[in-house]
């Protein structure tokens, strides 16, 4: 925790800021990309959202109170950015985010930056049919393997509620795969 405080100080100090932020980018770019890509599904959109996320992290770092871990705080910003992005995109296209996500998943085979087999596509299709919160919990728990305690900090939901959400999500996914 002390290390994290020192690191935040380095990020805020104009003399060390550049080097510290480069380290933050190195550490977080891949896991955050995966997290955002799992939500927005498309590479170009994930790239946009990831850039915006880091810019916001940089801008709001001075307001970071240290009440939660830096990791949870950054993930919270990324999640909000990604969800806001898909909602705005759906609105621009005159559709709902659910309908838009389903359409993207149905066309995954044609995506240049998707390299998955039948079961991977089937799983993506099953996940796209879940309610928004269950989708988020499933993706972060199953694909990204984030611990419940950390998920709780990121999403502001109790561990118990998250476990219940994940359990429901898995049940629905298994039913979908069995019947399709």
């Amino acid at each position: 925790m002390q290390d994290e405080k020192d690191f935040i100080q380095e990020l805020l100090n104009p003399k060390t800021q550049n080097v510290a932020f480069q380290k933050l980018l190195r550490d977080y770019q891949r896991p955050l990309y995966n997290h955002i890509r799992n939500i927005v599904l498309n590479h170009d959109d994930a790239d946009d959202v990831l850039q915006n996320t880091f810019i916001k992290v940089f801008q709001y770092l001075k307001d970071f109170k240290g009440e939660s871990k830096l990791f949870s705080w950054i993930y919270r910003i990324a999640t909000n950015e990604a969800i806001t992005f898909i909602k705005q995109k759906a609105k621009r296209n005159g559709t709902t985010s659910e309908a838009m996500q389903t359409r993207i998943v149905d066309n995954l085979k044609a995506d240049t930056f998707f390299d998955g087999n039948e079961i991977q596509i089937k799983l993506q299709k099953a996940v796209a049919l879940l309610p928004e919160k269950q989708q988020l919990v499933f993706k972060m728990k199953y694909y990204e393997e984030i611990k419940y305690e950390e998920l709780s900090e990121i999403l502001g939901t109790s561990v118990g509620a998250l476990k219940a959400s994940y359990h429901h999500a898995v049940k629905k996914i298994e039913d979908f795969v069995k019947n399709n």
Binding site: Q29, N38, I55, Q120, E174
Partner: protein
């Protein structure tokens, strides 16, 4: 897929990939977009300024009250001559109406003293050629 159980299956990955070398250039792309120096935000609602503005506003208000009353009372007063001219030439008030408005006080003021001696009256009557006619009437 009759017995599909997510926990028993080998881990299924998302299947998403990135363009070659995407992460090699990503950092630079972000660093180039960062604001060089955070501009200091100066709120116009800083407490000190609010007090200065309030004091200035009160001062202006205080100074303007005497001026306002001065000009507004001047406007209300119309000089007597203008008023008389207006009543005499512009209004449709009949003499009868004016008489009705007169009170005893006003009438007393209007009384004239006729201290004329008899000789003056006689002279006046003599010089009046219509006297006989008046008497007949």
């Amino acid at each position: 897929m009759k017995n599909f159980n997510l926990g028993n299956e080998p881990k299924i990955t998302s299947g998403f990939t990135t363009p070659d070398g995407y992460f090699d250039t990503f950092s630079e792309k972000v660093l180039a977009q960062l604001p060089k120096q955070q501009p200091k935000v100066i709120s116009i609602f800083s407490s000190k300024k609010v007090w200065y503005f309030t004091a200035a506003a009160v001062l202006i208000l205080m100074l303007s009250i005497p001026l306002f009353t001065k000009y507004s009372t001047q406007q209300e007063e119309i000089d007597t001559e203008t008023l008389e001219n207006y009543i005499a030439y512009q209004s449709n008030i009949s003499e009868e109406e004016i008489v009705n408005l007169l009170e005893q006080d006003d009438l007393d003021k209007m009384k004239l003293d006729f201290n004329i001696d008899d000789a003056t009256i006689e002279d006046a009557l003599k010089s009046n050629s219509n006297l006989e006619q008046y008497l007949i009437d």
